[in-house]
C-alpha cells in the first residue's frame, strides 16, 4: 500500500515536475505510465517485503536458479539508470542486454518485453524519467551457480529460449483478440509464471499458460478455452478477477495478488476484456482420467473437509462469490502440481485488498493443526469430490513442501 500511495504521488510528480524531462510530452508519459503498470514494473523493482522505495529495486526474487536482487530503475546516475539512453533502454527490453552490452539474466522478462514495439518501450522510458531519482545501492554477491555465473553463457541460453521480435498481430483475428494477445505475451508477461519451464529455466512453448512452478507456488493453468484451467470462467469472470481481485470463483492472493494490486486493477476495462477474449480463445487438451483415491482416503478427507473447510467454502465446495474460493472446478485444486493448494492449507493466505474490494480476507494456517496424512487426504478428497477429478497427493508431497517452506 505504501508503494501504491507513493505511486499516486509519482503520477502527480509526473504532472508538475518536469526538470530533466522538458522534452517529454504529457501524452507519451501517460502512455508510458500505463504500460509500466501493464508490465507491473514497480512490483519487482521495489523491495515490497521491507517497505522499500518504489522503483528503487532491492527486491529478492526467487528464480529457478537462485535469488536475484532487482536493480534500481530510477534515473539516478550512480545507482540507477540515469545514464541510460533511449537506445540503451530499448536494447534492454528488446534484446536483454545491459548498457555495456552484457547479457541480462532471464529473470528479467525480456523474453516477453521483446514483443513490445519501440514506441511502447520509449514511452516507458519517458515515464521512468519523470520519477524522482533515488540513490539505492545493492551489494553485489558473486554467488551464482554455473553456468549462469558467466553472462556469456546466457548467449547460448538465449539461442535456445529467446525468440526476439515485436508482437505480430494475427490478421485473421479481431483487433480485440490481438490487443489481448499482445498484453498477455508482451508487457503482461503472464507466461513468466503461468508457463512451465524446462530444466534450463526456459518457458516451454508447448506448455504455454498451462501452469508453472516458482517460489514454491504453482501458478495455475489459465487457458480459458475448452478444457483449459479457467474454461468455466466467463469473460466477465476474468475481467472481474483482474479488475477487482475477486470474482465468482476465487480471490487474488500472494503473487497474483500483487499483480492485481499493482497492475491489472489499474488497466482499462477495454484491455481487461481484450485479455479475457484472448484467454478464452486458448483451448487445451482434455485431462487424463485419474484413479480415484481409496474410500478410506475419501472418507477421512471428507470428514476433515466438513469439519474445517465447509464454514467458508461450503460443504459442496461452491464457495462464496467475491469472498471464499469455489473449490469445485478450481484450477488451483485440480492442477497436476498441487503445491499451491497444499501451501495455502499449510500457511494460509491473504486476499489482496483492491480499490473495489478493500477488505483483505485471509484464510488461516492449518500447519499446526493438520498433519501430513490429514492434509494429503484432504487435498486428495478436494481433488475428487463434487465434480472434480485429479490424482491423489501423498503425505510425502505435503512433508516435502513443509520442509521446503521451513528452510
Amino acid at each position: 500500500m505504501i508503494a501504491r500511495v507513493a505511486m499516486g504521488a509519482v503520477v502527480l510528480a509526473a504532472m508538475v515536475q518536469t526538470a530533466g524531462a522538458q522534452d517529454l510530452s504529457w501524452s507519451e508519459v501517460e502512455r508510458g505510465r500505463y504500460l509500466a503498470i501493464a508490465a507491473n514494473c514497480v512490483s519487482c523493482h521495489t523491495d515490497l517485503d521491507h517497505g522499500g522505495t518504489p522503483w528503487a529495486g532491492g527486491r529478492e526474487m526467487e528464480t529457478p536458479f537462485g535469488v536475484i536482487i532487482t536493480p534500481n530503475i530510477t534515473f539516478d546516475a550512480e545507482t540507477g539508470i540515469g545514464n541510460w539512453t533511449r537506445d540503451d533502454f530499448w536494447r534492454a527490453l528488446h534484446e536483454g542486454r545491459r548498457r555495456d552490452g552484457a547479457h541480462m539474466y532471464p529473470a528479467f522478462p525480456y523474453t516477453h518485453f521483446t514483443r513490445m514495439p519501440r514506441e511502447d518501450v520509449d514511452a516507458i522510458y519517458a515515464y521512468l524519467r519523470t520519477i524522482p531519482p533515488v540513490e539505492s545501492h545493492h551489494v553485489p554477491e558473486e554467488d551464482l551457480p554455473l553456468p549462469l555465473r558467466v553472462r556469456t553463457a546466457i548467449a547460448a541460453w538465449n539461442a535456445l529460449h529467446f525468440d526476439q521480435g515485436v508482437f505480430q498481430p494475427d490478421p485473421e483475428r479481431s483487433e480485440q483478440w490481438n490487443r489481448g494477445a499482445y498484453l498477455v505475451k508482451g508487457p503482461g508477461h503472464c507466461g513468466a509464471c503461468h508457463t512451465d519451464r524446462n530444466l534450463l529455466g526456459g518457458e516451454r512453448e508447448d506448455e504455454f499458460l498451462r501452469g508453472g512452478v516458482l517460489e514454491n507456488w504453482h501458478a495455475p493453468n489459465i487457458r480459458g478455452g475448452a478444457h483449459g484451467g479457467i474454461a468455466h470462467w466467463s469473460r466477465h469472470d476474468i475481467v472481474a478477477y483482474l479488475g477487482t481481485g475477486r470474482n465468482e470463483h476465487t480471490a487474488a492472493m500472494t503473487r497474483m495478488g500483487e499483480v492485481v494490486q499493482y497492475s491489472t486493477q489499474h488497466l482499462t476495462d477495454g484491455d481487461l476484456n481484450a485479455i479475457a477474449t484472448y484467454l478464452k480463445s486458448l483451448d487445451d487438451t482434455p485431462r487424463d482420467a485419474s484413479e480415484r483415491p481409496s474410500d478410506a482416503v475419501m472418507q477421512a478427507g471428507e470428514a476433515i473437509y466438513f469439519d474445517n473447510c465447509a464454514a467458508c467454502h461450503h460443504a459442496d465446495g461452491s464457495g462464496e462469490p467475491d469472498m471464499f474460493a469455489r473449490l469445485d472446478g478450481s484450477n488451483k485444486v485440480l492442477s497436476d502440481d498441487a503445491t499451491t493448494v497444499i501451501r495455502i492449507i499449510l500457511e494460509g493466505a491473504q486476499a489482496v485488498p483492491t480499490d473495489a474490494h478493500p477488505g483483505p480476507l485471509a484464510m488461516p494456517a492449518f500447519d499446526w493443526k493438520l498433519n501430513d496424512d490429514q492434509i494429503a487426504d484432504l487435498v486428495s478428497y478436494m481433488r475428487n469430490a463434487w465434480g472434480n477429478t485429479a490424482p491423489a497427493v501423498s503425505p510425502s508431497d505435503v512433508a516435502d513442501l513443509r520442509d521446503a517452506l521451513a528452510e
Binding site: 464454514a311 467475491d322 469472498m323 474490494h357 477488505g359 480476507l361 484464510m363 488461516p364
Partner: protein, 586 residues
Amino acid sequence: MTEIHRSIDVVLVGFGWTGAILAHELTAEGLQVLALERGGWRDTPTDFPTTHAPDELRYYWRHEMFQETAQETQTFRNRRGQTALPIRRWGSYLPGVGVGGAGVHWNGQTFRFLPSDFLARSHNQERYGALPDDMTVQDYPVTYDELEPHFDRFEKLCGICGQAGNLQGDLRPGGNPFEGWRSNEYPNPPMEMTFSQDRFKASARDMGLNPFPAPSANMSRAYTNPLGVRMAPCTYCGFCEKFGCGNYSKASPQTTILPVVMQQSNFRLRTHCDVLHVNKDRDNTRATGVTYIDAHGQLHEQPAQIVILCGYQLSNTRLMMLSGIGEIYDPATGQGQLGRNYTYQVMSGVDVFFDDAFTNEYIGAGALGMVVDDYNGDNFDHSGLGFIGGAYIACWTTHARPIESQPVPEGTPEWGSEWKRALQQNFLRHTSLSVHGASMAHRENYLDLDPTYKDRYGRPLMRMTYDFTANDRRLSEHITPVAAQIARGMGGREIKVNALDAHYDIWPYQTTHNTGGTIMGETPADSVVNRYLQSWELHNLFVMGAGVFPQNAGYNPTATVAALAYWSAHAIRTQYLRAPGPLVQV
C-alpha cells in the same frame, strides 16, 4: 524521561467501535488521526480464525478477549456505608480490550432506542405525573429524529439484518410496530429462525403480542457495505458473544471499517499504549493531549488538537476522574456530575424444557432471536404500575456452549448422578427467554474513586456503588410473568422462572451494558458532556460510548452508541473544525 511526540490533529483513546468510526470520519476530513489502544492488534485470520476460535474455555472462561483485572478493574459495593472490594475476576460484565474492543466479541443484537427512550423524564412525567425524587432520570439532549440518519448509517455499515416495522411512518407487518420511524428498510433480510423462535412466535401471537425478528449484525447473506468491505453469510456456529467471528460474518470494526481506515495515510494506530491522563492547559479550557505508558513502561506525552475518549464507559469515566476534568458526583450533596447516573440492565429469564422436541441450541448465532416489544419502553400503559421503562422479551438461540450452559429443571441437585442425568436429558431439549429491562438512574447508584484500592501505578480504582432499585424490581415483577406465559405456550414439559429477586451480585454474568458516568445533558449543571458529546469543561475533549446515556433503555446499547458517535463526528466535521470552541452556549 517522558518521550514527547510531535503534535497531531486528533488522538483517539481506545480503538473499538467508536474509535474506528471516529477514525474513519475524521481522516476523511483530512485530519491526522492517531489511535492509542491499550491492548494489542487482532484480526480474524490470526487471532480468532475458524481453526481455533470455537474454544469456550480459552475465550470465555480464561478471558482471552477481555481486559485483565490486573490492568484495570473496579471496586464494588451495593450501597453507601459498605466497604467496596475490588472485582478480582470478572463476572457480571466483561469489558473488552484490544483493537476492535467489545465490537469483536459482542453478540450483534443491534436495536435502536425508542423515540420515547430519549425523553425518559419529560415523556413519562407528562403521561404519569412526577417521578420519585430519588429517580435522577433525565432526557437525552438529542432526539430520535436527529439520530435517525446516524442509526441508518451504522446499520448500513454493519449490514444489519432485520425487518422494518415502521418505514417512514408506514407500519409494516412482521416488523416491530413500536419502533421509531426508519428512513430505510434494513440492509439485509432477517436471519433464518430455528425451532425455538418458531415456537416463541406462535405462542406470542396467540397472546396477541407482536413478535418480530431481532435486528442482527450476524449476516443472513453475504453483504458488501458502503465502504466496499464484504462480509460472509453467518454459519450459525454458536460462538458469537465472548468470541471473535472466524469467518467474517459478524459486523465488527475489523469486518466493516478497519480495512479502509488502516490504509489511510493520515491514520496511525499504536497498540499496547495505556493512556494514564488527559492533559489540559492552565486555563482549564482545552485538553493539550494525553500521557500514556507503553508495554515497556516508557511514558509518552502525545500532544493533540482534539482528544476523543473512545474507551469503554468504565474506562472513560475513570480517566476523566483521574485527569481532574469535572467534579466527581457526591450522592450526599447531589453535587458533581462525573460518575452520576451509573445504570446497568435489569435482567430476568425463563427456561423452557421440552420432552419430545430437540431445540439443538448449539445451532445459533449471537443475534438469532424473535422479540416482542409490547412491554418495552413506554409501549404499554404504566398507569398505577409504580415504575417507568420496560423490557423486551426475546427467545434468543445464541449457543449451547456446555461450560456456560447446563440447563436442568427446578429442584435438580447441582452435582452427582442426578444432576448428570438431568443434564443429559435436557441439554438438547431446552431453550430460554430473556427479559432485557431498562435501568433507570437513581441518586444512590454512582461511580467515584475508591479510597483504598490502587492500580499498579498507584492510582485509585474506580468505585461502583450499585443495587437494583424499586423501579427495577417492579419492572421485572411485572414483565417476567409475561415471559413465563409465553414460555408456557411454547409446548414444553415445564418451565423455570429466573426472577430478579436478590441484590445485584457482581459475580454471575448478566450483561456488559454499563452506562452513565459521563452523561450528556442540556447544561453543565446536569451533565458532563453536551448534546454533541463535547466536554462542557474542555471544548476540544469529546467523550464517546454508553457513558453518555443519562439512563439505560430496555435495549442493547451498541446501535445507539454508534449513532451518537456518528452524530458527534458530524458536529466535529461541520461545526467544530470551522470554529473550535463550545458547540453549545449556556
